[in-house]
């Protein structure tokens, strides 16, 4: 059997990659994609724990999967709103590169 920690390590790696992308991508859509990766890493965590604790005393049945389901829904909603915002900004500033949209710069 695959030990629990390997799933968690995978999730950690995905999370790190996603963070790296969120911090370094210039394209706004790139950042949103990185965020999707982060959310997926969280999902893997949830499902892993759900699976590995299913026989524990008093653990709710299938809660992890249901939560993961919710996360997917929310992630979709977030992606929708984010992309719409990117489009609106693109219309105004004619660019999707976030380092060009710095009206709050000193």
């Amino acid at each position: 059997m695959i030990p629990e920690s390997h799933f968690l390590i995978l999730s950690a790696v995905l999370f790190a990659i996603g963070v790296f992308g969120a911090l370094t991508r210039r394209n706004a859509i790139g950042i949103l994609m990185s965020i999707e990766l982060i959310l997926n890493a969280a999902n893997i965590n949830l499902v892993c724990f759900s699976h590995h604790l299913s026989t524990a005393q008093g653990s709710p049945e299938g809660l992890g999967q249901i939560l993961a389901l919710f996360v997917i829904a929310i992630a979709a909603a977030a992606a929708v709103v984010g992309l719409v915002l990117v489009l609106a900004i693109y219309r105004n500033a004619k660019t999707v590169f976030v380092d060009r949209i710095n009206l709050m710069k000193w």
Binding site: A12, L14, I17, L23, I29, M33, S34, A73, V81
Partner: protein, 180 residues
């Protein structure tokens, strides 16, 4: 596929080893695709890599006895969200964007921070406190899932649908072209 498994069985590789090995391959593939997402120069390529990574994640779910979730992942994430991404890319792509670098100035610092974070997370993972219970083998049946959604977790379910509604309305409002 079963033939391959039989073949491998015949040479003495048990099925479990095969499945374990394929897990690691899949995991590596996911990581690779994810890495390509964040480092690709072409944002369109990034979207494609994202799709592939998400499919890989769906495969991971299978290893965790979450078949329904794997299907939902592919359907919603890959099928709708990534499509949405591609739409957006298409709408905002410019010809000369390829020549421009896609990563900003804080790459190095971010790399350092990311690696540190990764190290710390793995540290945490390694040192989790032991607890009772272990992995089960039972898959959560869809019927049971539906029942849980409608009964025990009905409130979050409704709230989620409200959130989706809000996102929908907001998207329409913000995305509307200004007349005049």
């Amino acid at each position: 596929m079963s033939g391959l498994i039989h073949l491998l069985n015949s040479i003495g590789v048990p099925s479990s080893v095969l499945s374990e090995a394929s897990f690691y391959v899949l995991a590596v593939l996911v990581c690779v695709f994810a890495f390509l997402v964040v480092t690709s120069r072409n944002v369109f390529h990034s979207a494609v890599y994202l799709a592939l990574a998400l499919i890989g994640v769906a495969g991971i779910y299978l290893y965790l006895n979450a078949e329904f979730l794997a299907v939902v992942q592919v359907l919603i994430y890959v099928g709708a969200v990534v499509t949405l991404f591609i739409f957006a890319i298409m709408l905002t792509a410019r010809i000369h964007d390829q020549a421009i670098r896609q990563t900003n100035e804080q790459v190095l610092v971010s790399a350092v921070v990311t690696l540190a974070l990764l190290y710390l997370l793995i540290n945490i993972v390694e040192n989790l406190p032991s607890r009772t219970g272990g992995p089960g083998t039972k898959t959560l049946a869809i019927g049971r899932l539906g029942e849980l959604l409608m009964k025990d977790y009905a409130l979050p379910f409704e709230v989620i649908s409200l959130v989706l509604l809000a996102a929908l309305v907001g998207a329409i409002v913000i995305g509307k072209e200004k007349r005049g």
